[in-house]
């Protein structure tokens, strides 16, 4: 991922790990938007949004945190 340094990588990953919890509190309390779909449609949709999104989001977020933190 070409992060600045091993240390920066670890710190960035941990910061992401901590911040994602409060970031998701509103969603946890409000619930995901409800759509009347069949179980299969719902599964496909959620795997796409939360599965694929869940793989991509941290890469981007960790890269950004890595750039932002003043840590070599």
């Amino acid at each position: 991922m070409q992060l600045k340094s091993p240390r920066s990588a670890i710190i960035s990953a941990l910061i992401y790990n901590a911040l994602i919890i409060p970031a998701l509190i509103p969603l946890a309390l409000k619930g995901v938007q409800f759509r009347p779909l069949t179980a299969n449609q719902l599964l496909r949709r959620n795997i796409l949004i939360f599965g694929l999104g869940g793989v991509i989001a941290p890469f981007i977020a960790i890269k950004i945190i890595d750039i932002l933190i003043p840590f070599a």
């Binding site: 960035s12 901590a18 009347p36 793989v55």
Partner: protein, 650 residues
């Protein structure tokens, strides 16, 4: 059934004929719906404080995933104090200390954030509970002694089986059943409905009273049915506060899965250390803990209980008391809904839909006579006839003050008006009107029977209209399906939920309504016993069944159903058998409950997916860097090649 329930929900408001008869209570529509508004002020300050209090290991140990983070934080804290505590580290101690301190700091906040999520969810529940609690303060109850005199005691000293006397202006001290007296009670404190409710003994529906409501007129003798702290409001408070929250089966299953996943990663990370040593990239305990925390599903581990509490809270906001979190969750797994026709699928009253003229009369003439016969009729049916007649350009062409209304009686099965000019107009059951016409010397044509049959086939109730000896036509009274239900049943079907309608109507009427409402199945001429049979049959096919009920004869079925929602207006027996009680007594809410339950399950699933997917990215961010430390080895694949070569040489 309570017919005015419908008007509480704008989406169920009937616009055409029904609007007049139903609008009487609709002005309360905007202000009602939810329980006393909870105040959210100071919620976040309190949650922040709670988040630190929850760092107590005895609290943390209940959540295995976060407990691992907790232990990790302690260990990194120790190596911050002494980097060489778990073996000598080659790097510069000052730099090590800084890195370890930073890791400790971030891990600490991971814990605080997770606790904060739970505290916010609980805080919202508590605010709701406080609002509810404010409606019930200790009151002085007049306990009825065996000798007939009364003794004033605190409501908290009342026990199940005691009899109390309440008079106008009193707060009802506990949940109970009316044994004597007739009085109107203001239940707005719990239901939000401002119109007082009539209470009297003996009747299934109207004899149960709830603690915290106020009696407005007359007096009642009440048999207390619950000990203090065990009433419905108390149960709701305990539940939204989280005091009685126990993990639901689904939550337990997910916690087991997350714990196993955590253990797997614990082993994986433990083996990284010798591997790293082998490739001459030794790593520190703080780095290994960081790797572990990044890999275990902390996101869902931290949010799991908040999701559950929020689900309960959402149900409470809907003015439904669930006796357990399990019941809320079960709503999401429901496969079959068993619904009563009257009050749930259709409005409680039949409304006039059409005038069918006979004997060569015109629709306008029928409308004119029907209007004249209905001006004194205050029933919703009567009012709907007036509205339909006025739509057909009929108008009252006599002085109502000079006319006399003839009320409906079970014996005559007719009602109507004696006009000032001496003519008598009547409307009523076709047989009754036939008899009336014959007694006035008129004849009955076969056209009337044809119209009668036509209306019956359409699933409606025919009312004949006559003036003196002349029959003018038939009013078609139609069962009105609540607006928007069809779409909701379609939604349910798409989600895989089957709907079954139960009705006492005959087969033809039932099939017409079933088709109109869009239910999947119906059972006509149903008895209360049929309900439990339907539930058993569905359950034997492995389905989860939800139903609503309010009568004592519904109790066995409510207990048998996986989700049984009793109406607050229902009997004590029904409420005790059910696992949810709807304070607004609106059976249609069952559909909303299914939605809330499903939303809870979907939210939990979505966040679990997200959390585990996150781990993949975090793994790739950390693993290569651990093995690259000090630029010794480029990647894991290289170390594996080394291992391969070795085994090959041997």
């Amino acid at each position: 059934m309570l017919t005015d329930d419908i008007s509480r929900y704008p989406e169920f408001m009937q616009t055409p004929q029904g609007s007049n008869s139903l609008s009487s209570s609709s002005h309360t529509g905007a202000s009602r719906r939810h329980t006393p508004k909870a105040s959210m002020g100071g919620l976040y300050q309190r949650a922040i404080r709670e988040a630190f209090v929850k760092l107590n290991p005895r609290t943390e140990v209940k959540n295995p995933v976060m407990f691992i983070v907790w232990v990790g934080t302690i260990v990194t804290f120790l190596v911050t104090l002494d980097p060489n505590l778990f073996g000598t580290v080659q790097a510069d101690p000052a730099q090590q200390r800084l890195l370890n301190g930073l890791i400790t700091f971030i891990l600490f906040f991971t814990l605080v954030f997770a606790n904060f999520a739970e505290a916010v969810a609980e805080g919202r529940g508590k605010a709701q509970a406080d609002a509810l609690r404010s409606t019930r303060s200790d009151t002085i109850a007049r306990k009825l002694l065996p000798n007939g005199s009364t003794q004033e005691i605190s409501s908290t000293e009342l026990r199940r089986g005691d009899q109390v006397k309440v008079v106008a202006g009193d707060m009802i001290p506990a949940d109970g059943e009316v044994v004597k007296g007739v009085a109107s009670v203001d239940e707005s404190a719990i239901t939000g409905e401002s119109a007082p409710v009539l209470k009297q003994p003996g009747t299934d529906i109207m004899s149960s009273v709830t603690g915290g409501t106020r009696i407005l007129s007359d007096e009642l003798i009440i048999n207390v049915t619950s000990d203090p702290g065990q009433g419905f409001i108390d149960r709701m408070i305990a539940l939204v506060e989280g005091a009685e929250r126990s993990k639901t089966p689904n939550e337990i299953a997910l916690t087991v899965l997350l714990t196993v996943l955590t253990l797997v990663f614990l082993i994986v990370v433990a083996t990284v250390s010798p591997l790293a040593n082998y490739v001459q990239a030794p790593t520190t305990i703080a780095i290994l803990i960081s790797l572990l925390v990044a890999l275990i599903p902390t996101t869902i581990g931290g949010l799991l209980s908040a999701i559950g509490i929020a689900g309960m809270d959402r149900v409470a906001q809907f003015n439904v008391i669930a006796t357990s979190g399990r019941a809320v969750e079960a709503c999401g797994d429901i496969n079959t809904l068993v619904l009563d026709k009257t009050g749930t699928i259709t409005l409680g009253n039949r409304l006039a839909d059409q005038f069918i003229p006979v004997n060569g009369h015109t629709v306008e003439e029928v409308a004119q006579i029907a209007l004249a016969a209905s001006v004194f009729d205050e029933t919703p049916e009567g009012k709907s006839i007036v509205i339909l007649a006025e739509k057909n350009r009929a108008s009252v062409n006599f002085k109502t003050a000079d006319a006399t209304g003839v009320e409906f009686t079970a014996r005559t099965r007719m009602s109507g008006t004696d006009l000032p000019n001496g003519k008598e107009v009547r409307k009523g059951a076709v047989d009754a009107v036939k008899g009336f016409v014959r007694s006035r010397g008129g004849v009955v044509s076969t056209q009337l029977d044809e119209a009668y049959e036509r209306v019956s086939r359409l699933g409606g109730t025919p009312l004949a209209v006559c003036q003196d000896s002349e029959i003018y036509g038939v009013i078609y009274l139609k069962d009105i399906v609540k607006a928007g239900l069809r779409e909701r049943f379609d939604q349910l079907r798409r989600m895989g939920v089957k709907t079954i309608m139960l009705t006492g109507d005959n087969q033809i009427t039932a099939s017409v309504i079933a088709r109109e409402a869009g239910v999947d199945d119906f059972i006509a001429e149903a008895t209360p016993e049929d309900k439990i049979d339907v539930i058993r049959r569905e359950q034997s096919e492995g389905k989860l069944v939800a139903m609503t009920g309010d009568g004592t004869n519904d109790a066995p079925a409510l207990a048998q159903a996986n989700v049984g929602v009793a109406m607050n207006s229902g009997t004590q027996a029904a409420k005790e058998a059910a696992n949810m009680v709807d304070l607004d007594s609106d059976p249609t809410k069952l559909i909303d409950l299914v939605t809330i339950g499903k939303q809870l399950l979907i939210t939990r699933g979505a966040l679990t997916t997200f959390s585990i997917a996150n781990d993949i990215a975090k793994y790739f961010a950390i693993i290569p860097t651990i093995l690259q430390q000090q630029g010794l080895v480029p990647s894991i694949s290289c170390s594996l090649k080394v291992l391969d070569r070795q085994s090959f040489q041997r």
